[in-house]
């Protein structure tokens, strides 16, 4: 027992400075015409952890996520994923969309398998993979339902299963829980913590909810607008291991939420 705890402390002490970096963005600028969405933004995302991009609307957090996804090209600067420069969408990244982005004419199983279908995986194989992820996100029995027959929360579970099914190392989540109801969102947040632990993937999570960011993240990057920049990186440390039920009344959790709100409040009219 003492040995294990000693090993843990040393990992943490060391970790503060030298995490293995899965994704890094360097000097990213992005202009839409005359509008400057991002200006010289650099940020690193540690491997196997969840990093939130938090900020008021218009701070460019979704733009940054789409640049990492390869869906948008930065005006200048570059993104590296596992040491490889990003030039477009790649098999190492999977995206979860705010509005789910499901194909309404396709059944749940086809939607979940869609990423594999596009990669040319044979039908029986991809459906087997899809089925196991459908089960994992708790939608067993709905394989042949269509999206319009599902609730908002169930639809996002389909979106999540689709992202997991392609087995990418990096999961990019663009306000994934903002279109589902409050209770479902809480359940999602708890499930996400489990997912980060089980999957050993790197999660990049865009949200506008301070509580959500602090609750789910290993690292919260606070982005401020005009000009867009990373104002602060916060690493909650003490409550991560305390179990999902205790986080929301942990004093560090509450302090961080207050602190973030104090720094963001003047950007919100």
């Amino acid at each position: 027992m003492p040995q294990t705890s000693a090993a843990e402390t040393s990992a943490v002490a060391e970790g503060d400075t030298t995490f293995e970096i899965a994704v890094s963005t360097r000097n990213i600028s992005k202009n839409f015409g005359d509008v400057e969405a991002l200006n010289d933004l650099s940020l690193e995302f540690p491997l196997g952890q969840l990093t939130s991009l938090l900020g008021p609307s218009g701070c460019g957090k979704t733009t940054l996520l789409k640049i990492i996804a390869g869906l948008l090209e930065p005006t200048s600067g570059e993104v590296e994923v596992n040491g490889q420069k990003v030039t477009g969408p790649g098999p190492d990244r999977a995206f979860v969309f705010q509005d789910f982005a499901l194909l309404p004419w396709a059944s749940v199983i086809r939607n979940v398998a869609f990423g594999l279908e596009l990669r040319g995986v044979a039908r029986s194989e991809r459906e087997a993979v899809a089925e196991s992820y459908i089960k994992q996100v708790g939608l067993a029995g709905f394989e042949h339902a269509y999206p319009h027959e599902l609730s908002g929360g169930m639809r996002q579970r389909v979106g999540l299963a689709r992202a997991l099914a392609v087995d990418a190392e990096v999961l990019l989540m663009d306000e994934p829980f903002s279109a589902v109801d409050e209770q479902t969102r809480r359940k999602f947040q708890e499930d996400l913590l489990g997912l980060v632990q089980d999957q050993k993937k790197t999660f990049i999570f865009v949200t506008h909810s301070i509580e959500e960011a602090v609750y789910v993240s290993d690292q919260v990057a606070i982005l401020l607008p005009r000009p867009s920049r990373v104002s602060e990186i916060i690493r909650p440390s003490s409550f991560r291991g305390k179990g999902v039920d205790n986080i929301r009344r942990d004093s560090e959790y509450l302090d961080i939420v207050d602190e973030i709100w104090a720094s963001l409040r003047r950007y919100v009219e």
């Binding site: 996804a69 390869g70 869906l71 969408p89 790649g90 098999p91 990244r93 999977a94 995206f95 969309f97 509005d99 982005a101 499901l102 194909l103 309404p104 004419w105 396709a106 059944s107 869609f114 990423g115 279908e117 596009l118 990669r119 269509y146 999206p147 319009h148 689709r162 392609v166």
Partner: protein, 253 residues
Amino acid sequence: MMNRSLTLKILSAVILFGAWEIAGHIPVSFAFPTFLESMGALMRMIGDGTMLDAYAETLRPLAVGIAISAFLGIAIGIWVGLSRFFDWLFSPIFIVMQAAPLAALIPLLVLAYGIGLTSKVLVVCIMAMPVIVLNTAGAVRNTPDSIKEMGRSYLATDLDVILKIIIPAASPVIFAGLRLGISAGFIGAILAELKITPTGVGDIITYSRSIADYPSMYAAIFSIILLAVLFLNLLERIEAVLFKGNQRGYASD
């Protein structure tokens, strides 16, 4: 559910034909036969082969014209919807085609292409194609960005995006355009036979009117409407088989 819809269909047919029968008995016009007289004429013409010969003639420009309009119309529509350049190039042509008073332009077509099959096929196409092209283009243009983006983020090629996302997403509106276009094509086929050379069903209509055989005239008109309705129903079945998830039921269900 199915039974209820079938019952409603039969009921509405009974009401319509009943009203027709009564209107024929009043009569609203000397030139308006009753429903039963018209059906009698229809049976007679089916029996003696007149109808068969007439449709052999009429269906040729109709089938060729509709096939061209559907395939070319959808293809051009997708193209127009995808590219600003092709939109600029083609859209005005089809907007003009749709707005043009076709009956008045038929003499021009005859002048250019004669009185044969070509002119008649063209009339069908001019009637059917614009709405198919314009609907398809509009639907393609309005594919939600988020599912296109989803496709790209999951490594879809441009062709994948067109075949697996844009076309299925546009399919309900494409089929709506096909329905409108094909019914316009039926009108075009009869118009061609009335205005260019009286052949087929158009000939029955013209000839029986000229000898005041109104039941036969209305029987011919009835038969072409019936054919159009059956064909549109078939199209609906095809859509239901091809794009099952597009059936969302009704807002009030």
